[in-house]
């Protein structure tokens, strides 16, 4: 299959691979900006001439495992066969997300922060692999930094977003944010966009089912998550056509919120909003085309939080 091998050539380019990675690690300067280093860092280690590269199979990420689509379907993306998720996969992913949610939300904020930081570490380590599948190096850097940014929010958002309420009476009264629960996410196509919708949802204790339009980067991210002390089921990633799978998340009664950041078709967004109204899901739909390089602010986190207010009388 000559077409196939040529389309993969950027990944299996035999030259300077080790060198490129070594340069990247030994210097603050990214591969591609250093003289003499190819712009794209190959992933497959170089072998003896004529050695056949071992390719990666891109499957789904559900409950911490990497199953194929139960439908058996795949679709071709840049020469790779990626899993084409079905309604059943979406429902399985919701079950996994629901199962993981109480424990993840019940973990200490410090612990969740450390897990997110670990994601940043693992992502940094796989930097070259993302670049090799076409994500610009600067975007991978920004994605790593975003995980670090959100890692730090885990044990601060409750103080910023909640607090004591000075009620007119002898009562202790406090409002604290809590995760909404299971969030269905239609992710944007860009890698930084993908990270920018997952991290704010999970840092507060939600679990997510993500419909990712760009399968390779999404599944490499799943591999990062799988090696980051992230409990299985906290992030579930389905590749395929979001327009096909998103309606099943929008109508699913065990999904609490829907993030439509990645939906570009207004008619589809309106349909999904209408469907989500059936169980009164919270719907996130940023106005316009979000700039993921900008400071995200609090909204990506707070729009997936509930506020619980607890009263108790004071008295001797």
């Amino acid at each position: 299959m000559p077409e196939s091998s040529s389309s993969r050539s950027r990944k299996s380019a035999p030259t300077s691979a080790g060198k490129a990675v070594a340069v990247r690690r030994s210097s603050a300067v990214r591969a591609g900006t250093t003289a003499g280093v190819p712009a794209v860092a190959p992933v497959t280690p170089p072998g003896p001439p004529g050695r056949l590269a071992v390719r990666k199979t891109y499957k789904l990420f559900i409950g911490g495992a990497f199953p194929r689509s139960e439908s058996g379907r795949t679709y071709l993306v840049d020469g790779d066969n990626a899993a084409l998720a079905s309604r059943k996969d979406a429902r399985d992913a919701v079950v996994a997300a629901r199962k993981a949610q109480p424990k993840w939300a019940g973990a200490t904020a410090y612990n969740r922060g450390q897990v997110l930081y670990r994601v940043a570490e693992m992502l940094e380590a796989r930097h070259a692999e993302f670049v090799a599948c076409g994500v610009p190096a600067a975007e991978v850097d920004a994605a790593v930094d975003r995980w670090v940014w959100y890692a730090g929010w885990a044990d601060k958002i409750a103080q910023v977003h909640g607090g004591a309420n000075p009620v007119a009476g002898p009562f202790f009264n406090i409002s604290a944010p809590e995760p909404t629960g299971v969030v269905g996410v239609v992710a944007p196509a860009s890698f930084l966009g993908l990270v920018s919708v997952i991290a704010p949802a999970i840092v507060t204790g939600n679990t997510v089912v993500v419909l990712a339009p760009a399968p390779q980067a999404a599944i490499i991210l799943a591999e990062v998550l799988a090696t980051s002390d992230m409990p299985g089921g906290v992030v579930n990633i389905l590749t395929g056509h979001p327009a096909e799978t998103a309606p099943w998340l929008a109508s699913h009664d065990d999904v609490n919120a829907l993030d439509l950041t990645g939906v570009t078709d207004p008619a589809l967004a309106a349909d999904l909003e209408r469907t989500a109204a059936g169980s009164l899901k919270r719907v996130v739909r940023p106005a316009g085309d979000p700039d993921f390089t900008a400071d995200p602010g609090l909204t990506p986190m707070t729009s997936l939080l509930e506020t619980k207010t607890v009263w108790h009388p004071k008295g001797f």
Binding site: R274, E306, T307
Partner: protein
């Protein structure tokens, strides 16, 4: 315990001057509706006496109101926050000055006991305006960005259970943040909103900042679907909330919903029983149970079941049901014939499904809409009276053995507005409160409200918060 004899102590209704008919309040003036004949009557539910004729706003009227609000939005939002604040402080003060009049009016139109409208509704209404007045010039400190902007025109639709208080919850934060409003009160309780229009005039509020359109569901639908509206805020049933969420889908209108509830009130065996019984009674019989956050599912730990139930029945026997204007009345009239029918139907279903019904002996007035305080025992989670919002003075009693079982039963509902926990053990209260999926948890108290305290639901009880700093977010971009 025998009932004390009380002489009647009715509050004088001479403090209220209700006009025979009312127009719509649009652009600072009371105006007749565009199409004549669009009128309906509002009655005193305690006597079925007609209080006034009120106009039905049709599409043309709604459009006029939205246009007026739109015209007013620019200048109102351009006003320095400190000036907007002063208008709201003025309104708060006028409400305080007129609170007796408004309390009597509210009891006449709604049927709630004067003790509640006088001591709870009106003080909270004034406090709400006073609280949000103070935010108007401090929005940049509220945590929603350095220069938070108003959304524009807010369409607000409110229910009949706390007519003026729900108006305050909607209008005060909207105005403080620089929005203008078109508000539709419920068709059975339009009068206090129309009196509030007069308060706005007294305060010299610029025309168009507050517009009041009266009518039934169709007027509300026309209002929330009007393309000139930027924000929709609704308090009412979950079913209507769903319809509104569907109708605004894809429009980019911002939406907050405060919907139904089926709150669990959990009594542990280490609870202070006497206080708990007071809280149970307040939880379900306050405002005739016409409360979305009412503690309508009582969960009692089995070991104290007999003791709690006996004490509850004894306490219920002392509740005085009757004339809302009597200062000794605890439980007033059901707001409408329609609501009375719904309460009767669901209660009959409760009995048919096998739950045991009990009410204290009490004589109900011959005229008006009345329902005796009622409890059902032997209720299971499958019973409709344990699952559906009755919105009346009807309590379903269930039992549990372990905290885990209590939490599971409490959360076993699509609603998530409020919950109650009764226990003297602090660690237990905090652990249970953590696990309850509800927006407000009252521990060793119930049905407490304050303008500084965010209120709103989880799950199908809606989204967004009203009250406190959180309440500003719904009206800011």
């Amino acid at each position: 315990m025998g009932m004390f004899e009380y002489a009647p102590a009715p509050e004088s209704r001479s403090v209220v001057d209700i006009a025979p008919s009312y127009g719509l309040f649009i652009d600072g003036e009371f105006v007749p509706p565009a199409s004549s004949g669009g009128v309906f009557k509002t009655v005193n539910p305690a006597t079925e006496e007609v209080l006034a004729e009120v106009s039905t706003a049709g599409p043309e009227d709604v459009d006029r109101a939205v246009t007026a609000a739109r015209r007013a939005a620019g200048p109102w939002s351009a006003l320095p926050g400190a000036e907007r604040a002063k208008y709201l402080f003025r309104i708060a003060r006028i409400i305080q000055e007129r609170s007796r009049e408004l309390a009597v009016l509210e009891s006449l139109d709604n049927g709630k006991p004067i003790r509640e409208s006088r001591d709870i509704d009106l003080p909270l209404v004034a406090a709400h305006f006073f609280y949000y007045a103070g935010w108007a010039d401090k929005l940049r400190y509220a945590g929603f960005g350095a220069d938070p902007r108003p959304l524009g025109v807010a369409a607000q639709v409110i229910p009949w259970n706390f007519p003026l208080l729900m108006l305050a919850w909607k209008i005060a934060p909207a105005l403080a943040t620089g929005n203008t409003v078109v508000l539709k009160p419920a068709e059975t309780t339009p009068l206090s909103a129309l009196f509030f229009a007069d308060v706005c005039r007294q305060a010299d509020l610029p025309p168009g900042v507050v517009n009041i359109v009266t009518g039934a569901g169709e007027t509300g639908r026309t209002l929330v679907e009007h393309p000139g509206v930027d924000k929709v805020a609704f308090t009412g049933s979950t079913e209507v909330g769903r319809q509104i969420a569907r109708s605004v889908a894809g429009t980019r209108k911002r939406l907050t919903l405060e919907l139904g509830g089926k709150a669990a009130n959990i009594v542990f065996d280490d609870a202070p029983i006497d206080q708990a019984v007071e809280g149970i009674v307040n939880g379900i019989f306050f405002n005739q149970g016409h409360v979305c956050c009412a503690g309508s599912r009582l969960l009692i730990q089995e070991s104290v079941y007999d003791e709690v139930l006996e004490s509850l029945k004894r306490r219920m026997a002392t509740l005085r049901v009757g004339d809302p204007l009597d200062k000794n009345t605890d439980v007033g009239a059901i707001n409408s014939a329609e609501q009375l029918e719904r309460i009767r139907t669901l209660s009959d279903i409760g009995a048919e499904e096998g739950a045991e019904r009990w009410s204290p002996p009490c004589t109900l007035p011959a005229q008006g809409f009345w329902f005796a305080p009622t409890i059902f025992t032997g209720v299971t989670q499958a019973h409709r009276i344990a699952r559906e919002e009755i919105f009346g003075p009807v309590l379903s009693v269930l039992t549990f053995r372990t905290p885990a079982e209590a939490i599971e039963k409490a959360n076993n509902t699509p609603y998530g507005l409020s919950a109650g926990v009764w226990s003297e053990k602090g660690s237990r209260i905090l652990a249970v409160a953590d696990k309850l999926r509800a927006g407000v948890v009252w521990a060793n108290t119930f049905n407490k409200f304050d303008p500084t305290s965010p209120f709103g639901g989880y799950k199908e009880s809606g989204y967004g918060r009203e009250g406190g700093r959180h309440g500003l977010e719904a009206y800011l971009a």
